[in-house]
């Protein structure tokens, strides 16, 4: 007894004397500073974008940028600026990508979560996730040197650079994201739901479609939206495989340039600092930023709005 009192007294003394308390007080400040880095970066980027975009719109009207159809930034005599060709390319490639990623990603998720045996899941899930680890430059190369030639065998009118091939490859790249996030959503549906459904004579498939998927729908849709956001922001694949024609079209066999690929072209090209072409980068970038921001917020809203508490 006597000893334990003396130990606790010793601890008390040590505590008061030691630097532990001081350190403890410093920890929140340190953590806050770390957290501020990303916040400040975002604010900084946004500010730069806004300032430079303002410069751009002092030279080119809103109307021209958002409603005209010609994009010729480097034309010496008569440069024209329109986001529509870039927007159409971005939207087309995203739609193509989601046509690939959603069906395959979701069926993969359903298989992994509902049908695969434990041992199959242990092998398959990591393999699917490896797809996510492949650098996008490799995907771009794959689209240009493999997918496009194969597609041209089937569709002879396909251009050597086109939006279809990178769209498909982008879809393949997004599959693991959709599959993995949807699988998480499906597996977190409690087993009692499946039991409840099957105890009524539902087959496994009916239980999956009518009870498990609806119960997980918020997570599933959020995975789609994040996939879309990823497709919109994807750069390397489209830069390599879709060429640089600023084409306002919905013909997927043609070469088109997405917003991201435009930024790559102009930053690595001849547009001198201070020229209108240079400032157009920021206008395109801020449009891109708002698109992905909107998508991410939509994903958040959906997963909150449709959250099923079980």
């Amino acid at each position: 007894m006597a000893q334990s009192t003396s130990v606790s007294a010793l601890i008390k003394e040590k505590r008061q004397k030691s630097k532990r308390q001081k350190l403890e007080n410093l920890v929140p400040a340190f953590l806050f500073a770390a957290a501020s880095v990303s916040v400040l970066t975002t604010v900084g980027i946004l500010l730069t974008l806004i300032v430079e975009t303002a410069m751009f719109f002092s030279e080119v009207s809103f109307r021209e940028f958002f409603t005209s159809t010609e994009m010729q930034p480097l034309n010496r005599n008569n440069p024209t600026f329109s986001i529509l060709p870039l927007l159409s390319a971005t939207l087309l490639s995203t739609v193509i990508a989601m046509f690939v990623a959603i069906p395959i990603g979701l069926t993969t998720a359903v298989y992994l979560s509902e049908y695969a045996t434990e041992s199959a899941r242990r092998v398959l899930k990591p393999i699917v996730e490896v797809l996510a680890g492949i650098p996008t430059i490799v995907y771009g190369f794959f689209a240009f040197t493999f997918v496009t030639p194969v597609l041209r065998e089937i569709i002879p009118i396909l251009d050597r650079t086109n939006i279809l091939s990178p769209g498909i490859v982008m879809g393949i790249m997004i599959i693991p994201m959709v599959a993995s996030l949807s699988e998480d959503a499906l597996s977190s549906v409690p087993n009692s739901m499946r039991e409840g459904a099957m105890a009524f004579g539902a087959t496994k498939f009916e239980a999956t479609v009518r009870v498990v998927i609806p119960a997980a729908i918020s997570g599933i849709i959020a995975s789609f939206v994040l996939g879309i956001s990823r497709a919109i922001g994807e750069t390397m694949i489209v830069t390599i495989a879709s060429g640089s024609n600023k084409n306002l079209t919905f013909d997927i066999t043609q070469s088109m340039q997405t917003m991201t690929a435009y930024i790559v072209e102009v930053t690595s090209g001849d547009a001198g600092a201070g020229t209108t072409a240079y400032y157009s980068l920021y206008a395109v970038a801020i449009t891109l930023f708002f698109f992905t921001l909107a998508m991410n917020m939509l994903a958040k809203y959906i997963s909150k709005r449709f959250r099923e508490a079980y």
């Binding site: 009692s192 739901m193 039991e195 409840g196 099957m198 105890a199 009524f200 004579g201 539902a202 009916e206």
Partner: protein, 275 residues
């Protein structure tokens, strides 16, 4: 509404009535020498049990004695566990349900199940009840509304939820959720209702309501109920089976089991000497 009552009467008339039927109630389920293994664990040993029409059979016994496992063999839900092996025969209305060609989905529409923890779907009250009829192809909205109302009334919860049919079922209290699950069962007009400790997650008041409900449902359905509560078995059942270590120690009329048990182990259990 008048349509509903006509329909109910018609159904009641089909059932055998009066004392004559009392004497020889038909056997709905009979279990013959059922053995079950989870992997290498031998969980059920030579189970023999009968369930009669319009009766309540209670299954009692200490935790881990196989009573829940047994009730899940009756609608083959036990097969949802990987690595389960069942031998022996279980006849439902004369057909061996472990026959390879037996249509298990059809069996489960005839045999409803209420689980230990209320498990409504994350849908509205209405959709929870309409779920069963819908998967079996009923699309007519009027008819679905009628079925939902009838089933909720059957489960003695209509008055509490009639103004909240479109609300999410998770907003209901635990006891209401469990009665909703019973209503969900009734919506497919089952023949038998299996209940796996339906009141173990409920407060005493809700428990009482479910018990009263079981008494009412007995007029139309055959009910098998697993319970760890011996008073509950004594209050609501006609027959009681006492399970111990995966065996049926005794199966008899509830009065006999509780007043004059044959086996000393039964007596020890019901008098609270173990379990």
């Amino acid at each position: 509404m008048s349509q509903v009552s006509v329909k109910q009467n018609a159904k009641v008339e089909l059932q055998p009535q009066g004392e004559k039927a009392e004497a020889k109630k038909e056997i709905v389920y009979s279990t013959e020498k059922v053995n079950l293994w989870y992997g290498k664990t031998h969980a059920l040993h030579d189970i023999e049990l009968d369930q009669r029409e319009q009766e309540v059979t209670a299954i009692i016994g200490p935790s881990g004695c196989g009573k829940s496992t047994y009730i899940k063999t009756l609608n083959r839900m036990v097969e949802m566990n990987p690595d389960v092996k069942v031998t022996g025969k279980i006849y439902y209305r004369g057909q061996n349900i472990y026959d390879r060609r037996f249509p298990v989905e059809e069996l489960r529409t005839r045999v409803g199940m209420v689980f230990q923890k209320p498990n409504p779907f994350p849908k509205s009250v209405f959709d929870n009840v309409a779920y069963g009829p819908k998967i079996h192809g009923i699309r007519d909205k009027k008819l679905l509304e009628q079925i939902v109302e009838e089933s909720l009334k059957g489960a003695a919860i209509w008055d509490e939820v009639k103004d909240r049919l479109q609300e999410n079922a998770f907003g209901l209290s635990g006891g209401q959720q469990q009665r909703l699950c019973i209503a969900r069962c009734l919506a497919v007009e089952p023949d038998v209702i299996l209940m796996d400790e339906p009141t173990s997650a409920l407060d005493p008041k809700s428990t009482l309501k479910v018990e009263e409900l079981v008494q009412e449902l007995k007029a139309k359905y055959s009910i098998m109920i697993v319970t760890h509560n011996m008073q509950q078995a004594a209050r609501i059942s006609d027959r009681t089976a006492f399970f111990l270590n995966g065996e049926v120690v005794e199966f008899d009329k509830t009065d006999t089991i509780f007043s004059n048990p044959n086996d000393s182990r039964t007596e020890d259990y019901i008098t609270g000497r173990f379990g």
